[in-house]
C-alpha cells in the first residue's frame, strides 16, 4: 500500500461505515456513499498495483462525480422525499442523472463532470446554512475544498509538506462525508433509542 492507496482506503472505510449506518434510515445517502466507496475500493486496488483497474477506477469516479454527489445533495437537502427514503428511488435517480452526466462528459462536454459535483456542493452548502448546522456547514466546506483540489490542484504540488493532490482529495472527501452525514446519523440513533 502506498500513500494514494492508503488515502483511498480511508475514504472507502469512511463510506462503508456511513453506508452501514444509513442503509435503513437514509437509503439515499447510503446509495450515494456506496457509489463513492466503490470507486474508492477500485482506487485502493489500482494504487496497490492493479493497473488494469485504472480505467474502471476513473469511470467509477466519474459516475460518483456526476451521479452520486447530486444524489447526496438531494438526500441531504430533502431527507423526507421518496428519493431519499426509498433505495429503489435513489437508484433510479443516480442511474438517470449519472447517465446524463457520463454521456455529456464522454461526448465532449467535459465541464459537466466538474459542474455537477460543484452544484451539488453548493446545494449542500446552502442547505446547511439554512439549517444553521455547524457540523454540516463544516462538511459542506470540506466537500467544496476537496472539489477545488480536484479541479485546480496540480499533481506535483505537495500540500502541508505531506500530501499530494490525490491524497488530500481523498482525506478531505472522507472528512466531508463524515461531517455531512453525522447529523442524519445522530438523528437516526436517537430515533432508534426512542423506539
Amino acid at each position: 500500500l502506498n500513500g494514494n492507496a492508503v488515502s483511498d482506503l480511508v475514504l472507502a472505510l469512511a463510506c462503508a461505515w456511513i453506508c452501514l449506518r444509513t442503509l435503513e434510515r437514509a437509503p439515499g445517502i447510503a446509495v450515494a456513499v456506496l457509489l463513492i466507496g466503490l470507486s474508492a475500493v477500485l482506487g485502493v486496488l489500482r494504487f496497490s498495483g492493479a493497473g488494469i483497474l485504472d480505467g474502471p477506477h476513473r469511470f467509477a469516479s466519474l459516475v460518483s462525480a456526476v451521479g452520486a454527489f447530486p444524489l447526496l445533495a438531494y438526500a441531504l437537502g430533502w431527507p423526507d422525499d421518496t428519493i431519499a427514503t426509498r433505495a429503489s428511488a435513489s437508484v433510479r435517480f443516480v442511474v438517470l442523472v449519472g447517465a446524463i452526466g457520463v454521456a455529456a462528459t464522454v461526448l465532449g462536454v467535459e465541464i459537466w463532470s466538474k459542474v455537477a459535483p460543484a452544484t451539488a456542493a453548493l446545494v449542500i452548502l446552502v442547505n446547511m446554512l439554512r439549517r444553521f448546522s455547524a457540523l454540516g456547514l463544516m462538511g459542506a466546506l470540506l466537500l467544496a475544498a476537496s472539489f477545488a483540489v480536484a479541479a485546480v490542484g496540480t499533481p506535483d504540488t505537495v500540500y502541508f509538506g505531506l500530501l499530494n493532490r490525490v491524497q488530500l482529495l481523498h482525506y478531505l472527501l472522507a472528512a466531508a462525508l463524515l461531517a455531512l452525514t453525522w447529523t442524519p446519523l445522530r438523528q437516526g440513533r436517537s430515533a432508534a433509542v426512542s423506539r
Binding site: 483497474l53 447517465a99 457520463v102 464522454v106
Partner: protein
C-alpha cells in the same frame, strides 16, 4: 450494411407461415390491422435507430476507448459466449427497469400495446428506447468488450427474442426453465394479475428465477395480451408518443419540481401504495375499429411498399447526407402514419394519404435518382401507376369520421 436488412425477408416469410398455420388451426392469433401496426412500428424503430445508434454507439465507443480495463479477444469463442451472457444479464435489468420506471416504460410500452401475440408483435419495437437503453451496457465497455463484439451480441440477443412471440408453440419442458420460450414470454406479455411484471429475460429465463420475477404459464387461465390502459389506436406515432404525453400532463399537474421529477422516475402509476387493481380476463375486449376489407387490403399492399422503402433506406443510409437521410426518414414516417390512420379510419388520414401518394408518386417518376440509386424505368412507371391508381381509389373512399360525424375514431 445493417444486418436487419437480411432478416426482413425471413421475418415476413415466417409471419406469413405462422398466420397460415393459425388460420388452418382456426386460432384467432392474427388481426391484420394490429399486425400491420406492429410492422409499421418495426419500420419506424429501424428508421429512428439508424440515427440514434450513431450517438449511443458513440457513447459506448468513447467509454470503451477511455475507461476500459482490458481488451476482450474477438478470436476466442469463450469471449463471445461470456459477452453474450453478460449482455443478457444487463438486458434483464434494462428490461426490468423498462417496466418499473415510468420514463423507461414510456419507451417500452409500445412493444406491449398489441392485444394479440404473434411473430409480428416481436417487431412492434420502440422508436425511443435507444435514447436511454445504452446506459445499462456501459459496464461492458468498461470491462473491455469491443464495440463490434457488443453490437454483434446485441443483435444475437435481439434476433433470439423473435421466436418466443408466438402462441403456436406450447410448453417445452426443461427448455422453459432455462431459456426464454413462447410459454414464459406469453406470461410477460399478459395483463392478467399473475402475469404483471414477470419474465423479463432476453435469452435466459434463469435471471428471472434468480431475481424473483419468474412466473410459469397457467393452464387454467387464458393469457390476455396487452396493457391495462389500452392504446386503442393503429397510429404508430401515437403508439410511440402516448405515454410520454400522459407523463407530460401528469408532471404539469404535479406541484413543485420534486413531484414533477417523481412522475418520470416512479413506477408507472406512481409509487405502489397498495395492491394492484384486479384484472378480470372475462371482461376483456380487444380494440376493433371495424376497418372494411378493401381498406385492409390497401393497407397491406402499401405496407409492403413501405417495407421496400425501409429496406432501401437501411441499405443506403450510410451513403446519404443528413438532409437526404432526414427527408427519406420523413417519407417513411409519413407513409406508416398515413396507412395507420386509414386502418383506424380517422378523418385526416384520407387527405394525408392523397398528399403522400401525389408527392411520392411524382418524386419516383420525375427524379432521375432515388436517394442515390438508379431505378429501372419500368419500375418507376409501375410505381407511378400504383400511386395514381391508389390516389383515385382512396379519393373515392369515405372515412368513418367524415361519414359518421365527430368522435367515432377510438
Amino acid at each position: 450494411v445493417n444486418p436487419i436488412v437480411y432478416a426482413i425477408p425471413v421475418f415476413l416469410l415466417t409471419i406469413l407461415i405462422e398466420a397460415w398455420i393459425a388460420h388452418r388451426r382456426g386460432a384467432a392469433v392474427y388481426h391484420v390491422g394490429d399486425a400491420v401496426t406492429s410492422l409499421h412500428l418495426g419500420v419506424l424503430s429501424q428508421v429512428t435507430n439508424s440515427f440514434a445508434k450513431l450517438a449511443t454507439l458513440g457513447i459506448y465507443a468513447a467509454v470503451y476507448e477511455n475507461f476500459r480495463a482490458a481488451t476482450w479477444p474477438t478470436d476466442r469463442v469463450v469471449a463471445w459466449v461470456v459477452a453474450l451472457l453478460v449482455y443478457d444479464f444487463f438486458y434483464y435489468w434494462f428490461h426490468r427497469l423498462s417496466h418499473e420506471v415510468a420514463v423507461l416504460w414510456a419507451a417500452h410500452v409500445v412493444h406491449h400495446s398489441s392485444e394479440y401475440f404473434n411473430l409480428s408483435t416481436a417487431l412492434r419495437q420502440t422508436s425511443t428506447g435507444t435514447a436511454l437503453g445504452w446506459l445499462f451496457y456501459l459496464p461492458m465497455a468498461v470491462a473491455g468488450v469491443p464495440p463490434a463484439m457488443f453490437v454483434a451480441v446485441a443483435l444475437i440477443n435481439l434476433l433470439y427474442q423473435y421466436w418466443p412471440h408466438t402462441q403456436l408453440i406450447g410448453k417445452l419442458g426443461w427448455v422453459d426453465r432455462v431459456f426464454v420460450t413462447p410459454s414464459n414470454h406469453r406470461v410477460h406479455h399478459g395483463q392478467n394479475d399473475y402475469c404483471m411484471d414477470r419474465n423479463y429475460g432476453g435469452i435466459l429465463i434463469v435471471w428471472d428465477r434468480l431475481f424473483g420475477s419468474f412466473a410459469e404459464e397457467r393452464e387454467d387461465e387464458k393469457v390476455c395480451f396487452g396493457v391495462r390502459k389500452p392504446l386503442a389506436s393503429f397510429n404508430p406515432l401515437w403508439g410511440n408518443a402516448h405515454y410520454y404525453v400522459d407523463l407530460w400532463h401528469a408532471s404539469r399537474r404535479a406541484r413543485g419540481w420534486r413531484d414533477k421529477l417523481h412522475v418520470w422516475l416512479s413506477p408507472p402509476g406512481g409509487w405502489p401504495m397498495g395492491p394492484m387493481q384486479h384484472f378480470e380476463p372475462r371482461e376483456f375486449r380487444k380494440f376493433e375499429p371495424g376497418t372494411p376489407l378493401p381498406l385492409i387490403s390497401y393497407a397491406v399492399v402499401h405496407y409492403t411498399l413501405s417495407t421496400a422503402l425501409l429496406t432501401h433506406f437501411l441499405l443506403v443510409f450510410a451513403r446519404l447526407d443528413s438532409i437526404q437521410a432526414w427527408t427519406y426518414a420523413l417519407a417513411i414516417a409519413v407513409s406508416v402514419l398515413s396507412i395507420g390512420g386509414l386502418l383506424e379510419r380517422v378523418g385526416w388520414a384520407r387527405r394525408l394519404e392523397q398528399l403522400r401518394l401525389f408527392v411520392l408518386g411524382a418524386a419516383i417518376v420525375a427524379l432521375p435518382l432515388w436517394f442515390g440509386s438508379t431505378m429501372p424505368a419500368a419500375l418507376r412507371a409501375a410505381l407511378g401507376l400504383v400511386a395514381a391508381a391508389s390516389l383515385v381509389w382512396i379519393s373515392r373512399q369515405t372515412m368513418r369520421r367524415e361519414a359518421g360525424g365527430a368522435g367515432a375514431a377510438a
